[in-house]
Symmetry: C2
Subunit: 344 residues, 2 copies
């Protein structure tokens, strides 16, 4: 059924070499032969066997992306956006995208090794960095092209794009303080994630600068899920001295917080201020719409992918490190009528 160079060679009476070179437009093949080869190739419906091609060329023209998900969390909107950005950029550059999921842990590096050494991918996109990220250490050590969304606590000698989470949370702190809040709670992200650290730090700094005391009891851990936000918010709100504002480490948890508040008869926006982080598409349509920090996830996905492809091609990177300034998106979940300003 599927034809090979050999078939074309037989049909044209030329050698396999010549056929190959004809199809690749080498100039040591006569125009006449080229035409013949192309015609026969067309006739036979020839398509090169990419596996063979790649085996020989030591290139797969494929970028890898392994989503660090637990269970079926593939559908996390954050990952969907990343995936969209990476996928579109890869397609535009003529690269395929190989997607896989693998929970953080023991077997994780094995999957990276397998894909890299198995020549399935030419490079990797790494997302959702941990403070000490073994994936990055491995890739760095192995000398494989990779580009990262996020930073680590270690040496930043790799190409990355990240948002300035410290700045983002400072904006939140200022916003909440400006609305008069003094008892501000924070549901953080898991502390091994680098962005969790930045965001927590930003809140601390922001409040400190404004001279607002920070109650350590109100700083609690979260797991990034809606359910987790719901549960932690419940605990915070049931305290004898509940906070008047709850900031969260990501939008999904903020949605959970709003549910918990509403269940207790509180009106989000007047009785309780809630903020998120990320500005996933849902945030705009939540009830009430969520005040949050916007980072252009889709765009970041594109950019990281573009960096990776440049790296793979051996081109010079314009910028090795990109840190984007996020902006505060004021909606209704903190009660202030959103001013019609465009974010800085």
């Amino acid at each position: 059924m599927s034809s090979t160079l050999k078939d074309i060679a037989q049909r044209t009476g030329k050698s396999i070499t010549t056929v190959s070179r004809a199809l690749n437009d080498y100039d040591d093949v006569s125009p006449k032969t080229k035409a013949l080869v192309h015609r026969v190739a067309e006739e036979l419906g020839y398509t090169p066997n990419l596996l063979a091609q790649r085996l020989q060329k030591h290139r797969s023209d494929t970028v890898g992306l392994i989503l660090p998900t637990f269970g079926p969390r593939f559908s996390d909107p954050f990952f969907s956006e990343i995936l969209a950005g990476v996928g579109n950029q890869a397609a535009e550059c003529g690269y395929d995208l190989l997607v896989s999921t693998q929970a953080p842990g023991e077997k994780e590096l094995e999957v990276y090794r397998q894909k890299v050494q198995g020549r399935q991918v030419d490079g990797f996109i790494v997302v959702r960095t941990r403070c000490h990220d073994l994936r990055i250490e491995y890739l760095r050590g192995a000398g494989i092209p990779f580009a990262v969304f996020g930073r680590t606590a270690g040496k930043l000698d790799f190409p990355f794009v990240d948002e300035d989470g410290v700045y983002g949370m400072r904006l939140v702190a200022e916003h909440l303080a400006g609305l008069g809040h003094r008892r501000i709670a924070f549901i953080a992200a898991p502390p091994d994630l680098m962005f969790a650290r930045h965001r927590l730090e930003g809140l601390r700094e922001g409040l400190a600068m404004l001279g607002i005391p920070l109650d350590e009891d109100l700083m609690v851990g979260g797991d990034l899920t809606q359910k987790g936000g719901y549960e932690q918010a419940g605990r915070l709100l049931d305290r004898p001295d509940p906070p008047t504002a709850i900031a969260t480490g990501n939008d999904l948890m903020a949605l959970g917080v709003m549910s918990a508040a509403q269940e207790r008869g509180l009106v989000v926006g007047s009785d309780l201020a809630v903020t998120g982080f990320d500005d996933i598409p849902l945030a705009e349509h939540s009830h009430p719409p969520l005040t949050t920090v916007r980072q252009p996830i889709y765009q970041i996905g594109r950019q990281v992918c573009r960096m990776l492809i440049q790296l793979i091609r051996g081109e010079e990177l314009e910028q090795q490190h990109v840190i984007l300034q996020p902006s505060l998106v004021v909606r209704r979940s903190c009660g202030s009528t959103p001013p019609q300003m465009s974010p800085l």
Copy 2:
């Protein structure tokens, strides 16, 4: 750097054949040799070259999914959900997922051909079927395993999962009629899409059964986007005799309809009823929450992928054709206080 069978063969003093067979646990290799080979393989950090393996085995253990998107519409929530389902199922079965985007048209089939004949994938998932779907004709003709989300107008001699769109829209018709609506508009999906046809047919049937006259002027075309819904709704609402209810062919357009209505000072739910179709995650959180028809996209993605993998493995399919009954999810966009019933 990356080691091969040859390296192991040299180190152990055995032949490449024996090493290969040892690693694959053939029983014509002595236990002692197996142990030796495994130890050395470990030492050298051997990982098989998947390209070579696949070239030889004529299998890629990869399923392909090409999203038929125009421009950067990768982020359509519908596709995200599908992708999540397919991706998780594939990962669970030990398959890789190769994702690509390609707008419908000329070049589309070429991409399928290339991936199939290039041995990049063992089979395809086809989504968002057209009435006459060339992709399906090609795959059928080429004898390549594939499984489909959706149906076509032609012979249904391929494995698919689909929702009963006719039934779904009949539920909508009944619901709207039950609320007293008589002037009902519909913003349809592009008519070459099979599901568009089903949904339109369902609405027609439903209204006919209830004896409600159907004004052809109120049946308009849509493009599935929020913007498209917004524009068409604007035109409908600016008529001298506007409808009291606007049903739509998908949720995204319904969101656009609500914006258009609200911009005109109408209260969605009392002044105008709006319905969607799909029940994407956004629907629950829209403002007001959207009454829509629920189809379990994520689950369908999983199931289609499972079917494909069974097909690839040559296993018997339990069911060749699966048609799921959707259910109406009553929220606030039609005004009725949502009864606390569980959908049928």
